[in-house]
């Protein structure tokens, strides 16, 4: 709640001075667009002319002597298009085709004429407000103003710089499409459209951000999804009241159910196949312009531990890998805390031979298990973070070198025991095997409180930590869907796709928790 108020306050604070500033400008725009090119130009220059990258190119229309001007932003607009299609049409072809009519044309060049007969480009619209014109120009459109015309024409020349389609970095797969979303919203929606003709795919557009407006698309399949869910998603998106939304992470945080929870309640993904699969299950995807990360709601914990590959591989290896991942999640969360509990509290509960060898390796270690474990765990977290920031070629090398050297040296120096190094390594490996980055971080982070619980109450503390965490999880909901479903409440029919991944033959229905209109997935 606090955070939200704070955010909205910021939004409000931003708004008030904004209005003051806008006052003169809006006055300008209220003055109607005149047919005087000179006057209009002055207005526009006042509005945006101070920007160095806004180009005003004045010329005569054909050889008519009618002054015109096109305005565009260097870099945003497609200069190629302007040079090869717009300018020639206006300056050369115009005169050639309409020479005979020239004398009569002056003063009566309507937007319809230009639109219908002169310019051969696809996007074209007329506007009558200076402000709208200015803002469109700044996003890449080219404005065409003609002396004596009451309309300004906006030509769709926006050319966003996009990168080539690449394999998603954050979710690499061995098997599966090598396509990842890009920063361009239209590309991303096209990915969805392209992945087979999806019947009834709805892409509803919203704008978010007060100052920097961004397009946001809510995608769902109309005849599958629960309309209540769509309604809720749209409501929450409409409620977003913030200056700008640089990344879909902002949207995620503003629409999630419980912002105090350490668990992510919205899934983000770079993989179109994942999104399509989610849509087919009756979920809703949220695409934001300018980021390759698409949000999927509602999500469950089990989803976070699954990978599309589970379904691409045959069901037996798929099941095996999935079980392995569950095991990894448990290990990542509890290994260090169990180590602490057994070493510092319950030496009586470990096998005798193991106890003797642990005692042997630990006898020189000056710290209690908690300090020892914290030291190594934090070191490895820093290493991980450092490896992430470093340039790609040296990142992995640094991770391995750092890990090996620190581990080896710490053991040599007698600061930590070799058993702990094994534990820490096991934890780290396990946490990296979790396919979803955000949940991996959550689990890695949660192991620290678990360690503290273990250091206070031993095994009892670990059990209580588990109970507390589970208590939290059973309360958590993601857009009305219990976070732990379908594990609880028991839905035996859906356990086919929980810990195990039964053959596709047997998974005939969509998840019930999503209250889909059309529950049958496979005949």
């Amino acid at each position: 709640m606090m955070m939200k108020e704070w955010l909205s306050k910021i939004g409000n604070k931003g708004k008030d001075p904004d209005k003051d500033k806008q006052a003169p400008a809006s006055q300008d725009t209220t003055c109607p667009f005149t047919d005087n090119l000179h006057f209009n130009l002055e207005c526009l220059k006042q509005e945006i002319g101070h920007n160095w990258d806004v180009h005003f190119r004045e010329f005569n229309l054909g050889r008519t002597g009618i002054r015109s001007v096109i305005i565009f932003v260097d870099g945003l607009s497609d200069k190629d298009l302007i040079d090869k299609h717009i300018m020639p049409s206006l300056m050369v072809d115009f005169s050639a085709e309409y020479k005979q009519n020239l004398p009569y044309l002056k003063g009566s060049i309507s937007k319809e004429f230009i639109k219908n007969e002169v310019l051969s480009i696809s996007e074209i619209e007329a506007v009558r407000s200076i402000k709208e014109l200015a803002s469109k120009v700044l996003t890449g459109s080219t404005a065409l103003l003609i002396d004596g015309s009451l309309d300004a024409l906006l030509l769709g020349t926006a050319k966003h710089k996009t990168r080539a389609i690449e394999e998603p970095v954050s979710e690499a797969l061995v098997r599966g499409p090598r396509v990842g979303f890009t920063e361009s919203l239209s590309d991303n929606t096209s990915f969805l459209r392209c992945s087979g003709e999806i019947e009834n795919l709805s892409l509803v557009k919203f704008q978010v951000g007060k100052r920097s407006k961004k397009d946001l698309v809510v995608a769902y399949i109309k005849d599958i999804v629960d309309p209540e869910l769509v309604q809720e998603v749209e409501n929450r998106i409409k409620k977003i009241d913030i200056d700008s939304v640089p990344e879909s992470g902002y949207v995620e945080q503003l629409i999630e159910d419980n912002y105090l929870s350490p668990f992510p309640q919205v899934q983000n993904t770079e993989r179109p196949d994942r999104v399509v699969a989610a849509l087919m299950e009756g979920r809703v995807a949220i695409l934001l312009d300018g980021t390759p990360f698409v949000l999927i709601v509602p999500v469950t914990l089990s989803m976070m531990l699954q990978s599309p590959e589970d379904y691409y591989e045959r069901w037996i290896p798929g099941t095996f890998i999935r079980m392995l991942r569950y095991l990894a999640a448990i290990l990542a969360l509890f290994t260090p805390s169990l180590y602490i509990a057994f070493i510092s509290f319950h030496s009586g509960l470990i096998p005798t031979k193991l106890a003797i060898s642990i005692i042997g390796t630990r006898s020189g270690v000056p710290f209690p298990a908690l300090i020892e474990a914290l030291f190594m765990e934090i070191a490895i977290e820093i290493l991980r973070e450092a490896g992430l920031r470093l340039p790609k070629p040296i990142g992995p090398a640094m991770g391995i070198v750092g890990g090996l050297i620190i581990g080896e040296a710490a053991v040599q120096a007698g600061i930590v025991s070799p058993v702990l190094v094994i534990v820490v390594a096991l934890t780290a490996i396990s946490s990296f095997s979790i396919p979803h980055y955000s949940i991996g971080i959550t689990l890695r982070m949660l192991r620290f409180p678990a360690m503290i619980c273990a250091a206070t109450f031993g095994l009892y503390g670990v059990i209580l930590f588990f109970l507390l965490m589970t208590s939290h999880l059973v309360k958590l909901k993601s857009f009305g869907v219990p976070y732990l479903s379908p594990a609880v409440p028991y839905r035996l029919s859906e356990w086919k796709d929980l810990m195990v991944r039964m053959p596709l033959m047997m998974m005939k229905r969509r998840p019930k928790m999503l209250h889909t209109k059309n529950p049958i997935r496979k005949g």
Binding site: P351, F457, Y460, I463, L468, L484, V488, Y490
Partner: protein, 368 residues
Amino acid sequence: MILSPKDKITTPQAAVIVINFILGTGLLTLPRSSTEKVQTPDAWISVILGGVITITAGLIMVKLSQQFSEKTFYQYINDIVGKWVGGLLSLVVICYFLTTSSFQIRAMAEVIRYLLLEGTPTWAIIMIFMWVGLYLIIGGINPIARLFEIILPLTVILFLVVTFMSFKIFEIDNLRPVLGEGIVPVLKGVKTTALAFSGPEIMLLLIPFMNSPKKAGKALLVGVSIPLIFYVITVVMVIGALSIDGVVLRTWPTLDLIRSFEVAGLIFERFESLLLVVWIMQIFATFTITYFAAALGLAQLSKKSIHPFMFGLLPVLYIIAMVPKNMNDLFKVGDFVGNVAMFLFGLLPLLLLIISRIKGGKKHETIT
């Protein structure tokens, strides 16, 4: 407390709640308490009989509550016996739940102190436990039911693994002869074993929360049968391994069963940690559901929001838990609670059912 329409639980959830309520301290002490009374290896038969009796009593409670499927016991008892007597009985039931709750945490704290955390003060063990419980029950009946659903499979798997490990020291001779001294000793133990099944009373409160109150009977049957299986396995394995002479001497016989063998070669070698995990989770379940039942009672009695009662009961629970001075006192509290339960949930529901039938019958007559 007003029940929001979404605050409903499914039939399996109701069954799971009953299972988790029943499994608690009994898991560790039942082999001793039953053998003490029976004195022959037939204690497991008393356990089965006790279970059957519990099912009967539970079904009576379910029948009673189904007549008022929109109301909890605290609400409908006023309709049956009037406001004052009803209020009083509600208070007694609330006290029963409070004491059960406290008894559970104290017993838990004692075992933890004995086995895991020698030297940690009882207050610390209890307090941290109560806070976690409070955090859970603030969410209402639904999160409780879901948490129970998570710990049930864990319990079943770990428990079965652990007990079947003890086959190593199991000797069938310890369980023989069956009924060597007739049925009489078995009957002596039935009261004790029936008390170990206290838990179906939650049905008095659960029915209005259920999706389909009509299936409450089924939920109860499943809810008692599974603990019955657990208890029989426990008693059979413990007596089989330790013999009746060995069982009566041990304070926590089930724990001693697990401590009496080591399986070399497996990672653990010693399995009591697994049993304790199961047991602590089961105690947590019993604790939270009784805590919730007590808070719900107070809230419905006073017709106020439940949350202040949840917070308010925390110190009360703590104080009750700290009252028993030693283990013997603690077991006495357990016996006392059991005796109260027998009256409250064995006889009273039957009485109430009869009264309500008579009253209902009269009303029915007047209408027709």
